[in-house]
Amino acid sequence: MSTLTEAPPPLRPAATERKAPRSRGRWTPYWLLLPGILWLVVFFALPMIYQASTSVQTGSLEEGYKVTWHFATYWDALGEYWPQFLRSVFYAAAATVLCLLLGYPLAYLIAFRAGRWRNLIMILVIAPFFTSFLIRTLAWKTILADNGPVVGALNSLHLLDVTSWLGWTAGDRVLATPLAVVCGLTYNFLPFMILPLYTSLERIDGRLHEAAGDLYAKPFTTFRKVTFPLSMPGVVSGTLLTFIPATGDYVNAELLGSTDTRMIGNVIQTQFLRILDYPTAAALSFILMAAILFMVTFYIRRSGTEDLV
């Protein structure tokens, strides 16, 4: 007992030391959150409300706009621009599927087969990000040019006839056709597919592949039954990261397409910046947002992967 009472006193009274950070910490999270959240509320959430209100206004630039709950703008906008909506979804879906087909082997290669080349390939996947994507998209004009190598190769294989018949290309051209736009979309959003795929593939324990092989699964069966199901989180977030921006994109349609390949982004941009028909533009933008949120929620429910980001 005597040794206990003779023990040196604690450096500071234990009770207050314990309590102090907690009472001080009670408001800390709110102070930490305040500036950033305020920024998002004012410059992200509030604009959405403004946009919603703009979409039901009527008036003109000269006389000003007033909220008149004019929902007809929505019907008019949909009635006039539904082909662009459909086209956007179709192009974005095609680009997403292509991204998955092209990106999966590369992500698989980096995760399992690259060995000491892994870092170099990773750098090569990311590095193009640092060259302005507009410059890189313009390079596709050279690659797909009318007398360029791609058109030449497709022509000599008579594949252009097939793609023309399918409506993907027109005549002897690839540029200014749906094929060129989808090709550009695929190219632009491919890294957004590869990176999440790689992340989820890299997490898979290599012994699971060995275990599958040991249990009579051939390499392709191993892929189908083990590797692919385990990479589902990457597939889901990769397809979302590709599909969402691709749907709203108007750069590829503008630079690589023609008036026949205009997507909904092009329409919104023209309405907003050139025609200055703000209600129609706001309504279109609102419809696009709602459509994407609807499709994404449905998709996430179906794929059963709730923990994405």
Binding site: L33, G36, W39, L40, Q51, I135, L293
Partner: protein
């Protein structure tokens, strides 16, 4: 048959490398065409070899001005988004508070929204407020869309950190501030750096949101966009090539430093 077998075993590798080629092809074209001497206004077809553009990269009216404007905006957007984003990330991981779900959705939504929607709605706000479009509206927009990416990057890092490290620091007489500065911040640093780097790249390269909210101000991507209509100077390719090379060298250098540090530790 041996060849077929050989091919089958390397099918994934071959397909992956083809994709890599697809990804890098435009960069090759950009580089090659930076040595072109085009006939006319557009630099889309190969004419003859020339180093003129490399000798005079700023020889195009307005291009280098737009480049420096883009760099300035990217730096300030990175600083702003990184500070605000890191604060949110720490609050999310280390504290309990009300409305957590709402905060999480507010972070997630900007990343799940097509850029054109954010661009258009932000412009509506600025028009309603009667704001002067230009440097400041661009900066505000860039901080807004970079914020979520910083939060995600920092959050991932701080979440993987052992909370007992902070408890150990407090046990060893470090106060809350000292614990944060000496333990939490150094460990979170790679996440913060990743978020900052991503912000810089996103801001520097952004076109859609900038195009809506820039007014008559011209950033580098907007200059490229405009030149696609008026005529593409070779100097654009010079800048594109230089950026690619700088990025690759920067990454290689940071990897070399990291390797040496690891070796010293071992």
């Amino acid at each position: 048959m041996p060849f077929v077998n050989w091919l089958r075993r390397r099918l994934v590798v071959i397909a992956g490398l083809l994709t890599l080629g697809y990804l890098l092809l435009p960069n090759v074209i950009v580089t090659v065409f930076s040595f072109n001497k085009p006939n006319g206004r557009f630099n889309y077809a190969w004419q003859q070899f020339s180093t003129d553009a490399w000798k005079d990269p700023c020889g195009v009216a307005g291009m280098c001005g737009s480049l420096s404007l883009s760099l300035r905006i990217a730096v300030w957007a990175t600083v702003g988004a990184t500070v605000l984003g890191a604060m949110i990330a720490f609050a999310l991981v280390r504290y309990r508070f009300r409305a957590r779900g709402a905060v999480n959705s507010l972070i997630f939504l900007p990343m799940a929204m097509p850029e054109v929607v954010m661009a258009a709605s932000l412009l509506t706000l600025f028009l309603n407020m009667g704001a002067q479009l230009g440097f400041w509206t661009i900066l505000i927009a860039h901080i807004m869309f970079c914020l979520s990416f910083v939060v995600t990057a920092v959050k991932a890092r701080v979440m993987s950190m052992d909370p007992r490290l902070e408890e150990a620091a407090r046990d060893l007489y470090a106060g809350p501030v000292q614990t944060f500065v000496r333990v939490t911040l150094p460990i979170a640093a790679p996440g913060i750096a990743a978020g900052a780097l991503l912000s810089f790249a996103l801001s520097f390269d952004d076109f859609i949101i900038t195009n809506f909210n820039a007014g008559s101000t011209v950033t580098f991507p907007m200059f490229v966009w405009g030149s696609a209509q008026r005529g593409t100077p070779v100097q654009i390719n010079v800048i594109g090539t230089a950026m690619f090379l700088i990025a690759v060298l920067f990454v290689l250098a940071s990897m070399a430093v990291g390797n040496r540090r690891n070796r010293q530790k071992a």
